[in-house]
């Protein structure tokens, strides 16, 4: 395990680190106070909900599946809180109901993927459309706000100095995610499933159970993130968190997790999480606006897969050519046994 981590540190994770330093350097050059704790806290607050969902999305993608429904789930959870609050339900109960809805729909997603055997792309595409539809049903085209003070304070006020509650929660969850992924049996099961479902099954991994657990967690944590975004913004619309799935999936893939599952590290995901936040902030400093930022993130997403592919293909070709050169031409190899280059 540690050798694997060391190898990756000089590989993809190292590259991310270099990139991060470059972005930070650029941002520092334009704004000397950039790295001050206040600014970094602000930065993190803006993307905290996405950061939280990214942690669980890493598990989903690690098994070779995908969950396109997380952003709609965030919107639905926020809408559930808002709609119940409007009906006079106490906020605490509204939040619990929203979390239960997330867990329930996550279980349903998991059931269809793991038990019925439908591709997760199709299942969560249905969720992507359906959950947003339910959110629209609940809050229609209104903007629901004026939540109790304690609720909005939860999302906005510092708990430990300037550090907010959600941020502390994120720190705990990030440590948990790294631990679960790389130091527990569950994490190893996750990675094995991503590598090969049949290998996992033959080694006694309960594939269906692990997948259902991960999709349920995905629903629950997306709902939690939805509640947090409602608290931070202090108002909920049906379009809350619209389009977040692109960012969330991009960060996971940029972190070096393979879309086919089975390879990547949680450290890489955390690094790319920080990188994308700072990059977005740098783009704001450079005067590049929201929509264009999304385009640049999209470009990054493509490049994060394309470049390693091209480098891999180039290296492969180079190795094969080197092997061809190293191997003696057929016929000259002593006993007439033709030696074939073993590259590949």
């Amino acid at each position: 395990m540690s050798a694997d981590i060391r190898r990756r540190l000089i590989g993809w994770e190292g590259l991310l680190l270099v990139f991060l330093v470059v972005v930070l350097g650029f941002n520092m050059a334009t704004n000397p106070r950039y790295l001050e704790i206040g600014n970094q806290v602000n930065l993190f607050t803006l993307g905290i909900e996405k950061s939280i969902v990214i942690l669980v999305m890493a598990f989903v993608i690690m098994t070779g599946e995908i969950d396109l429904s997380v952003a709609s789930m965030m919107g639905l959870a926020a809408a559930v809180v808002a709609a119940l609050f409007e009906q006079g339900v106490p906020m605490e109960i509204a939040v619990l109901v929203a979390l239960a809805v997330g867990l329930g729909f996550g279980l349903i997603n998991g059931f269809f993927v793991a038990i019925v055997g439908i591709p997760s792309l199709a299942v969560t595409l249905a969720g992507y459309i359906g959950f947003r539809g339910l959110a629209r049903l609940l809050v229609e085209d209104r903007s629901v706000g004026s939540f109790p003070d304690w609720f909005t304070a939860l999302g906005q006020d510092g708990l430990l100095g300037p550090i907010t509650g959600p941020m502390l929660l994120y720190l705990v969850m990030a440590i948990l995610a790294v631990t679960i992924m790389h130091f527990t049996g569950f994490g190893r099961s996750t990675i094995v499933i991503g590598n090969s479902v049949s290998v996992a099954r033959f080694s006694g991994v309960r594939v269906a159970r692990v997948k259902i657990a991960i999709f349920a967690a995905s629903g629950l944590i997306a709902a939690l993130a939805g509640v947090l975004i409602a608290a931070r913004l202090g108002a909920v619309r049906a379009s809350t968190a619209d389009g977040f799935e692109l960012d969330i999936i991009t960060v996971v893939l940029l972190g070096g997790v393979s879309i086919f599952g089975g390879s990547g590290t949680m450290i890489g995901v955390l690094l790319s999480s920080i990188l994308v936040l700072n990059l977005r902030n740098g783009l704001v400093i450079a005067g590049i606006t929201g929509n264009t930022q999304t385009g640049i993130i999209g470009l990054l997403l493509i490049l994060s897969v394309l470049v390693p592919n091209l480098v891999g293909a180039g290296r492969e070709r180079f190795r094969r050519r080197a092997a061809d050169r190293a191997a003696p031409p057929p016929g000259t190899s002593g006993e007439g046994v033709s030696v074939r280059p073993s590259g590949g």
Binding site: V123, G130, R132, R136, L137, A238, L246, N291, G298, I302
Partner: protein, 353 residues
């Protein structure tokens, strides 16, 4: 059941069921809504589904190869905006040039997707999720937040939506609907009779086997994406014609509508199975359902997406569970029939084996 399975393949049976569902739905709404089958609402619904149908034809080509193109909505929007802007500046542009330009831009956008997926080996969901964002940004940058308005467009363009190929007692076959039907029919014939079409199925059902047996899998996937782009370009032109007013958010979310229609129409998201006719019925089902629900006073506009999501899940779940069983049974029946035939005519057995 067995008799049915002797006559139809499970996939054909599925399309038959879909057709029955559509007919049942129309009959149901006809009893619920006044004037449901009158000429005017029927014309509106058929015109409404033309654009989705054209994009769906392209999407089927891609999905058959076990890929997906999520960028079509952005492509349609980009083409509609660019061509619309050019038409407002150069109003004398001949219609054919405008159409050609639309398809041309579409080909370019599709080819970029194809290059990334087939030759760059970027998984299609990543590549097209990326270009979904990128193409939209190009549109935003290009537009400078201005809109194309109907008033600035040439008259011939604004006349197209109401132009008819044929008309019967007020029921019109609009030009746009005719274009969509032609696209579906050509697409179906291509899938059935061209070796390119057959290869798409082969690639989708087992990409490794297709490559190992020497099919030009990369080139075919590239072509599928390029054709999908071309059709999205054509749909972009139709979008411009139909709506006239084009903003930077034009056709946003169309990709989901299309993927939903294709999946509901029985094209397997894991590739290798499905047909144009099925996908077209998927478009019909979704469009008719949505339009009718809007008119059905008892249901609010906001239920639309919730129902669409449910519909997709239902369609895919039935596909996986029911169709899987039917297929097993179909294989069993065919094997049994064949054995019976062999037993009846033992002399031929040697030839068959």
């Amino acid at each position: 059941m067995d008799a049915l399975l002797r006559r139809f393949r499970p996939e054909q049976l599925r399309e038959l069921i879909l057709l029955l569902v559509i007919v049942g739905m129309v009959v149901f709404f006809a009893t619920q809504i006044d004037q449901y089958l009158a000429a005017r609402p029927v014309n509106r619904i058929t015109t409404g589904l033309a654009i989705t149908a054209v994009v769906a034809v392209g999407q089927v080509l891609v999905v058959l190869t076990r890929n997906i193109d999520l960028s079509v909505g952005s492509s349609v929007g980009l083409v509609a905006y660019v061509v619309g802007t050019l038409l407002t500046r150069w109003t004398e542009m001949p219609p054919l040039v405008a159409v050609g330009l639309s398809v041309g831009i579409g080909v370019l956008l599709g080819a970029i997707n194809g290059l990334l997926v087939a030759y760059g080996r970027v998984p299609s969901i990543i590549a097209t999720l990326g270009t979904l964002a990128l193409y939209r940004v190009v549109l935003v940058e290009f537009s400078g937040a201005k809109t194309v308005t109907t008033a600035d467009l040439p008259d011939w363009l604004n006349d197209i939506p109401s132009a008819n190929v044929a008309s019967f007692e007020g029921y019109d076959l609009r030009v746009m609907v005719a274009v969509a039907l032609v696209a579906v029919i050509i697409g179906q014939l291509m899938l059935r009779y061209l070796s390119f079409g057959r290869r798409l199925y082969a690639i989708g059902s087992n990409p490794d086997a297709a490559r190992v047996s020497g099919l030009p899998a990369r080139r075919d996937v590239f072509l599928a994406f390029t054709l999908c782009g071309a059709l999205a370009g054509l749909a972009g032109f139709m979008f411009l014609v139909r709506f006239g007013n084009i903003t930077v958010t034009a056709a946003q979310g169309l990709e989901l509508q299309v993927v939903a229609a294709v999946v509901v129409g029985g094209v397997a998201i894991a590739g290798g199975s499905g047909s144009m006719v099925g996908a077209f019925m998927g478009v019909l089902l979704i469009e008719i359902l949505q339009q009718s629900l809007l008119r059905w006073a008892e249901i609010s506009e906001f239920v639309k997406d919730a129902i669409l999501g449910l519909l997709i899940l239902l369609a895919v779940a039935t596909d996986t569970v029911v169709l899987g069983r039917l297929r097993e049974r179909w294989v069993r029946i065919r094997r049994r029939d064949q054995e019976e035939r062999l037993a009846a005519a033992p002399g031929e057995a040697a030839d068959v084996r």
